[in-house]
Each structure stands twice: as structure tokens, then as C-alpha cells.
């Protein structure tokens, strides 16, 4: 076993074949029969999932000799050099769980992120907007997992992807095709020497062709790789939009900068969440109806701020009324809040401003691919599954996929398997599919449960939240799920 696992892998595509390919092309510049450019892994999509996968493959001595290509429609050099002043934050942020952070550290990427822009948080306040039943997620002294008391790390997506790109540049060895859109994907040809009829060929705008032993679809929710592989993604639209914004608060939070809290309130229209960023800043994720979302985007800043404050504080009836106003929410809020009793420390500190240009919205949907693998194809991240953001798990699920796929490829290389073969990819599917399915089901049911405004379900669910709050072990379970420690149970 040892001597096998210790073996270093050389690229499956032997160097001499590649050399031959190149020299032949030079010699036969005018020939139409250009030799195919063959890669062990072609990854379409340089988002968080694709970049982590390639970094993992390059960082492992077992897989570092694979011949790898990355295809991304965006300008990657812009993302790599992404920089914002310390008091400005991007509106697309994700909660990285400790297990995602550990993985990023293992592949050497964590140190390349701007750490002063990452905000760990240690508590969660979750409550029902209709009944006010509440659950406080903070670690009981003896229940904290050994990884520390951090529930998650709020990270700008661009901080993550630019850090990954820097780490990848440091590792080197990936043929990067940036600003390159995949036009279509076809199959290879049979020649006298080789039979590539089952090998995917990625055709880029401009005519470049990349032949893949393993084609990875990390190309997001509308994955062209998934369509090529004929894999259906099923699900539904929630009829909700996610509104995001970077908020300025009156202070660093009730616990100062050492003890930060994430807040989420379930409203009949969907959950509204405020997640801490460094200093006085927080990021907003509000799922609501498309009409409400477009109102929020239209409002003058002071009215937007008032409506966000109201969302964490006023009754659903008050909120509903304020959504019918085309402006003037600021006055309405100051009047109504005086008459609404609340305990200030269990809701976020007051929002005082919004960073310019950070209010945006996107439609929420739930999609799950029928499978994550096909012959010479694997899907990771949003290409495989799109989830309701209320659990903050979308990006973390992708990191889980990537970790599993990288391990699967490593095992295959160590045992001489064809890394594109369906048989070699089966362990990845087995490890990830059910885990993702269960998590998606839970988030979906939470959404439905909390989208009801009155009636027996409300009292039942408050009973549920209050009961969870008083049940230590169950709470620990829920929290460790959020923090990514409990994957074994799923």
C-alpha cells in the first residue's frame, strides 16, 4: 500500500506525445488535420468551485503532474488583482464554514486571501417574525467543536477567487484560457493512432480546441457541460429574489469586534439575514417577492435603510404596509418603531447607511442535477446543485464537492485508473449526492415552513424553535451542521 501511495504520478498523457503533437503542428501548419491538444483535466468555469479544484489538484504531489486547462469567460487577471479600500466591501459574500476554511488552508489558498477582510462570527440569532419564537445559536462551553468556536467566516466571493488565483499562479502549471467562452462541446475523432470518439472536445470562440480525459463542469447554474453530458437538473423557482447590499451599522456589533453575531429573521415573504463584516459593516441577504425586491432597489437610500431596520424589528403587518409606500419609509419607520417594544440587543445594531452601488438582486431557485458524473464528465458546485441561500451553504457545498472529487482523482491516479472513467468517478457521486440532497431538502422545507404567515403552522413552528432552543444537544447538532462539522450524519 505504502509504496503505491507514495508513487508520484506523471501525466497520463506522456510528455513525448505532447511534444510530438506540438512539433507536428509546427511542421504541418497548413494541414487541416491538426493534432488534438489533449489534457487530463479540462475545467470549464473559474468560479469558487473550479478554482479550488484546480488548486487542490496542483497542490497534491499525486496529481500535480496531470496536464490541466482552465476555461473561463471572465477576465481572470482582473479578478486576480481585485482590490478594494479597507472600508468598501463587495455585495457578494458567503459564509465559509470551518471545514471549507480548513480545506482551503490544506491546499495553500487560505494564506492568499486578504485576511483582514474576512469576518469570523461566533453566534447566530434566528427568530420567527410572526411569533417571535427565537433560537440563539452560541456554543455551550462544553459543546464547542475542537476546531474553535467560529461558526463561519464571512468572505467576499471575490476575495476567495482572487486568493485562489494567486495561489494557482504560485503553483503554476495550468493552461489558463481566460476571456474564453465555450462555444460548444463535441466528441473527438478516430485516427489510425488513437480513438478519441468518447473524449469530449471543448471548442472555444476563436477556434481553439481542448480534448479532455476528464471534463469538469464548474460552470455554474446554467452549466454548458451539464447540457453536453445530457444530465437534467430538476427543481423549481421559489418566486423569490435575493436582495443583497453592503450595510453600514451604528457600531461594530453588540459584542464588539471579538464576538460577532449573524442575524436571521423569518418573515412570511422569506428570510432576511444580516451577516457581519469587519468593522461597522454587514452584508444583507433578503429573500423576498420580486415586487418587493424591485421596490427595495428603487428606494432612496434613507428609505431603503429604514426598511431594512424595520425588517428586523417591526411586525409583518407593519412591513407589509411599508412595502406599499413608494417612498417615505424613513418617516414611517421612526414613527412606528417608537410604538414597537423590542429588546435591542437581540436584533442587529441599527443600519445607518448603504455602500453605493451594492444593492442588487437575483432570482432564487432550487436545482439538483440527476447525477454528477458521466463518462469523462464530472459536475461540481452550482453546476451540480443550486440551493436556497437561507442556510448560506451554496458555496460550501461546492467546496465539499471539490474536496471529494480531488480525493477521488488522487485515488484513481494512485491505482492506475483512467480518471475520466465512470468507474473511477463513482466514489465522488456516492460521497456527495445524498449529502447534498439531504441538505437541499432541509433548506427547501425550512423555506416553505416559514413562508406561511398565520395559522396552525406558525404556532407549531414557534413551538419548534422554542423547543430547539431549550434542547442543548439538538441545538449543537444544528449548529455543527451550519459549521460543517456534522457531515457524517447526512
Amino acid at each position: 500500500m505504502d509504496s503505491i501511495t507514495r508513487r508520484r504520478a506523471a501525466a497520463y498523457v506522456c510528455r513525448s506525445c505532447i511534444r510530438r503533437t506540438y512539433t507536428q503542428r509546427h511542421q504541418r501548419t497548413y494541414s487541416s488535420a491538426v493534432q488534438p491538444d489533449i489534457y487530463d483535466v479540462v475545467c470549464v468555469g473559474g468560479g469558487p468551485a473550479g478554482l479550488s479544484l484546480l488548486t487542490a489538484l496542483r497542490a497534491s504531489p499525486v496529481t500535480s503532474h496531470l496536464r490541466i486547462a482552465l476555461v473561463e469567460a471572465q477576465d481572470l487577471s482582473k479578478i486576480q488583482s481585485w482590490k478594494l479600500p479597507p472600508d468598501r466591501f463587495s455585495n457578494r459574500c458567503s459564509s465559509l464554514t470551518p471545514s471549507s476554511a480548513l480545506f482551503l488552508d490544506k491546499i495553500g489558498a487560505w494564506d492568499h486571501l486578504a485576511r483582514d477582510r474576512i469576518q469570523p462570527y461566533h453566534e447566530m440569532q434566528v427568530w420567527d417574525g410572526v411569533s417571535d419564537a427565537r433560537i440563539e445559536f452560541n456554543w455551550a462551553p462544553d459543546a464547542a467543536p475542537s476546531a474553535g468556536t467560529t461558526i463561519a467566516y464571512m468572505t467576499e466571493n471575490l476575495n476567495l477567487t482572487s486568493g485562489l488565483l494567486r495561489r494557482l499562479a504560485q503553483l503554476g502549471g495550468v493552461s489558463v484560457f481566460g476571456n474564453a467562452k465555450v462555444e460548444n462541446i463535441s466528441f473527438g475523432e478516430q485516427t489510425e493512432a488513437q480513438d478519441l470518439r468518447e473524449w469530449p472536445v471543448v471548442n472555444l470562440a476563436g477556434g481553439k480546441q481542448l480534448v479532455a480525459r476528464l471534463l469538469v463542469g464548474a460552470d455554474g447554474a446554467n452549466s454548458p457541460v451539464r447540457s453536453f453530458a445530457g444530465i437534467e437538473a430538476r427543481g423549481w423557482d421559489y418566486g423569490r429574489h435575493g436582495v443583497v447590499a453592503t450595510l453600514e451599522l451604528q457600531g461594530q456589533g453588540w459584542g464588539g469586534d471579538q464576538m460577532k453575531t449573524a442575524y436571521q429573521r423569518f418573515l412570511p415573504t422569506g428570510p432576511v439575514a444580516m451577516l457581519p463584516l469587519p468593522g461597522n459593516y454587514s452584508t444583507l441577504v433578503w429573500s423576498t417577492t420580486p415586487e418587493n425586491a424591485s421596490l427595495l432597489k428603487r428606494l432612496p437610500t434613507k428609505d431603503f435603510v429604514a426598511l431594512v431596520n424595520a425588517a428586523f424589528q417591526l411586525s409583518p403587518a407593519d412591513l407589509e404596509f411599508m412595502h406599499t409606500q413608494s417612498e417615505g419609509q424613513a418617516e414611517e419607520y421612526s414613527w412606528r418603531s417608537e410604538h414597537t417594544p423590542f429588546h435591542s440587543e437581540i436584533i442587529p445594531q441599527a443600519v445607518t447607511g448603504v455602500q453605493e452601488g451594492t444593492i442588487a438582486s437575483f432570482p432564487l431557485k432550487m436545482r439538483h442535477a440527476d447525477t454528477y458524473i458521466g463518462e469523462r464528465v464530472a459536475l461540481v458546485g452550482d453546476a451540480a446543485h443550486t440551493i436556497h441561500p437561507l442556510a448560506g451553504q451554496g458555496l460550501n457545498q461546492g467546496q465539499g464537492d471539490v474536496q471529494s472529487l480531488a480525493n477521488t482523482i488522487e485515488y484513481a491516479v494512485n491505482h492506475g485508473q483512467d480518471i475520466g472513467g465512470r468507474l473511477s468517478l463513482e466514489p465522488y457521486l456516492a460521497e456527495r449526492y445524498t449529502a447534498n440532497h439531504v441538505l437541499m431538502g432541509v433548506c427547501d422545507k425550512l423555506h416553505k415552513l416559514y413562508s406561511v404567515g398565520s395559522g396552525p403552522i406558525v404556532s407549531l413552528r414557534s413551538l419548534g424553535l422554542n423547543a430547539v432552543n431549550s434542547l442543548g444537544p439538538l441545538k449543537t447538532f444544528v449548529m455543527s451542521q451550519a459549521a460543517g462539522h456534522g457531515t457524517k450524519v447526512f
Binding site: 503505491i4 508513487r7 473524449w199 491505482h415 468507474l423
Partner: protein, 304 residues
């Protein structure tokens, strides 16, 4: 191919998919077993003429494997269980080589030369050729249909160059002996000994191709009451989940018989064994002691 059939019908059903390639003449299989029958002792009796050109090939075996060729590389076909077992072969070879202070190699970079006898569609041969620690793999099989499948499958992988992987239509008796540097660091016979006539002579002939310090590595299935009960009586006669005549239980060879065979020869040492069991849904797992009842790996090292 031959996995240990366990007692539950569910397992028998799973095992069935793995089995059809192991067919032997009906007449032989329907006879009831006599445990410890002299047939096996005879089968493993020292070969009178080493390196004889008399063939180990049983013609009905060959036609059977020819018929199977088409589905060899279907991941859900009849060879699925063999595909799943393949990584363990590498693990076992790795443990054998790690266990001995004498380590051979065939290139300055420490790479190995493999001879895979009875390679079939090339499941092991291809995987060995892909390892960066491999100098080359020579793979032989007497079934022409099977070998054609092996060749055309290898052509689908541009990484499997002619220098790395060579298929030869041959039996071990017709393969010209290498000698010296041309000998092999590892000679493998996976799921083959139970299909050959004169296994003792066959093993001796294969052994001639091993370098001093190199390993002769094989896998097969034990001949026990359990394997007779599960593969012959239950699977074929009572449950009927495996076509009658699929198994010639009398051709199964036990690990202690293999040990005794090589103990009786000079020039071999360090016998190693690993029993494995197929668990549906989990795959093949090493189970200590299971070599006495079902599938197992066996290896011996040629004295340096």
C-alpha cells in the same frame, strides 16, 4: 470474476453478475465435490517437465472468454466486480514489495516491468501501464476475441503508448523466455489459475519469467465447503441465480496448497496472502482469514 459467494441471497444475486465469465464444462461441474479430493493434489503435483511446451490451455475456457469479450469494459457489465477489485491488486503488490528488503527495478528511475498472464480485456494491464512507477507492461492471453477487445480499448487512451503497454497473443508456454534484464519485476496471474489445465506446471512456467528478487502475484478462490455450498449448490442448483455449469469447484485451489507448492521448490520465499470479501455497496475489503473461505491474493518472491 470469482468472488466469494456469501450466504445471503442478496449477495448471491450480486455475485451473479460477477460470475458468468467463469464457465467450465457442464459435465465437470455437476459432479458433487469430495473435499480434499486427490484431483487437486494431482493438479498441483510437481510438473514432470518444467518449461514444457504442453499447453495449460483448456479450449472450452477460451471459447467461453471469447464470448464474454464484448462486455468486458462495460462498467455495469459482467466484469464489474473485477473492475472493482482492481485497485486492491495494486495495493497488494505494493505491500509485497514493501515487505522485503530486496527491491528490483528495471530502469534507473526505479520503474518496474510487469508481465500480466491471462490479461483478459486488460483491466489490470492498462492500470499498471498508467502508473508512473511502471516501465512497461507485457500482457498475454490465449483468447483472440478477448485480446482484440484489450487492444481496441487501449487505443482509446492516448496515454497508453506502445512503449508502455504491449499485448501479445500467446500462452505462457509459447512466450519466449526473456532471461536476465528481459525478465520481469512482477508477474501477475489474476483470476487465471482456476481456468488452466495443469496449474502446477503453469505456475512453474510463469515463475521462470520472474527476476531474482521479483514477485509472482496471483488471485483466485479457495476450494472449501463454503465456496462449494455458495457457488455450486446454492447459486447454481437451489437458487439458480448462476447458470448451471458456471463453476468447476474442483478446480479451485487453496492457499495452503499454493504455499506447499512453492515450499517444495527451491528458489522461492516470503509467501504472502490477503483474503478479500465483496460487500455489495461497499466493494472489496480485506478480511483477515477470509483466504480460507473465498477470494484471496497470493504472492511469492523469487530468491535474489
Amino acid at each position: 470474476m470469482r468472488s466469494s459467494l456469501r450466504h445471503t441471497p442478496a449477495l448471491l444475486r450480486h455475485a451473479r453478475a460477477a460470475r458468468p465469465s467463469c464457465r467450465v464444462p457442464l459435465a465437470a461441474a455437476v459432479q458433487s465435490p469430495t473435499l480434499g479430493a486427490p484431483a487437486l493434489a494431482l493438479a498441483l503435483a510437481p510438473a514432470s517437465t518444467r518449461a514444457s511446451s504442453s499447453s495449460s490451455v483448456n479450449p472450452s475456457e477460451i471459447s467461453h472468454f471469447n464470448a464474454l469479450a464484448a462486455t468486458w469494459w462495460d462498467p455495469h457489465g459482467s466484469s464489474r466486480i473485477l473492475h472493482l477489485m482492481n485497485p486492491l491488486r495494486h495495493d497488494f503488490i505494493g505491500t509485497c514489495r514493501a515487505s522485503s528488503p530486496t527491491v528490483t527495478s528495471s530502469t534507473p528511475a526505479g520503474q518496474l516491468r510487469y508481465l500480466d498472464v491471462g490479461c483478459g480485456g486488460g483491466i489490470f494491464a492498462e492500470s499498471a501501464a498508467r502508473l508512473p512507477s511502471t516501465a512497461s507492461v507485457t500482457a498475454i492471453d490465449p483468447s483472440p476475441g478477448v485480446l482484440a477487445v484489450a487492444r481496441s480499448h487501449a487505443a482509446r487512451d492516448p496515454g497508453l503508448t506502445a512503449e508502455k503497454l504491449e499485448y501479445i497473443s500467446a500462452t505462457i508456454e509459447t512466450l519466449p523466455p526473456g532471461g536476465g534484464n528481459k525478465d520481469f519485476d512482477v508477474v501477475t496471474l489474476f483470476e487465471v489459475v482456476e481456468h488452466v489445465d495443469n496449474p502446477a506446471a503453469f505456475l512453474d512456467r510463469c515463475g521462470e519469467f520472474v527476476k531474482p528478487g521479483g514477485w509472482l502475484v496471483m488471485s483466485t478462490i479457495a476450494r472449501t465447503w463454503t465456496s462449494w455450498f455458495t457457488t455450486n449448490l446454492m447459486a447454481e442448483d437451489i437458487l439458480g441465480v448462476v447458470p448451471k455449469g458456471t463453476h468447476d469447484w474442483r478446480k479451485y485451489i487453496n492457499e495452503d496448497e499454493l504455499r506447499a507448492h512453492f515450499r517444495g521448490k527451491s528458489g522461492w520465499s516470503s509467501p504472502r496472502v490477503m483474503g478479500v470479501v465483496y460487500f455489495p455497496g461497499l466493494g472489496w475489503k480485506e478480511v483477515r482469514g477470509s483466504e480460507k473461505i473465498g477470494n484471496y491474493f497470493f504472492a511469492v518472491q523469487k530468491n535474489a
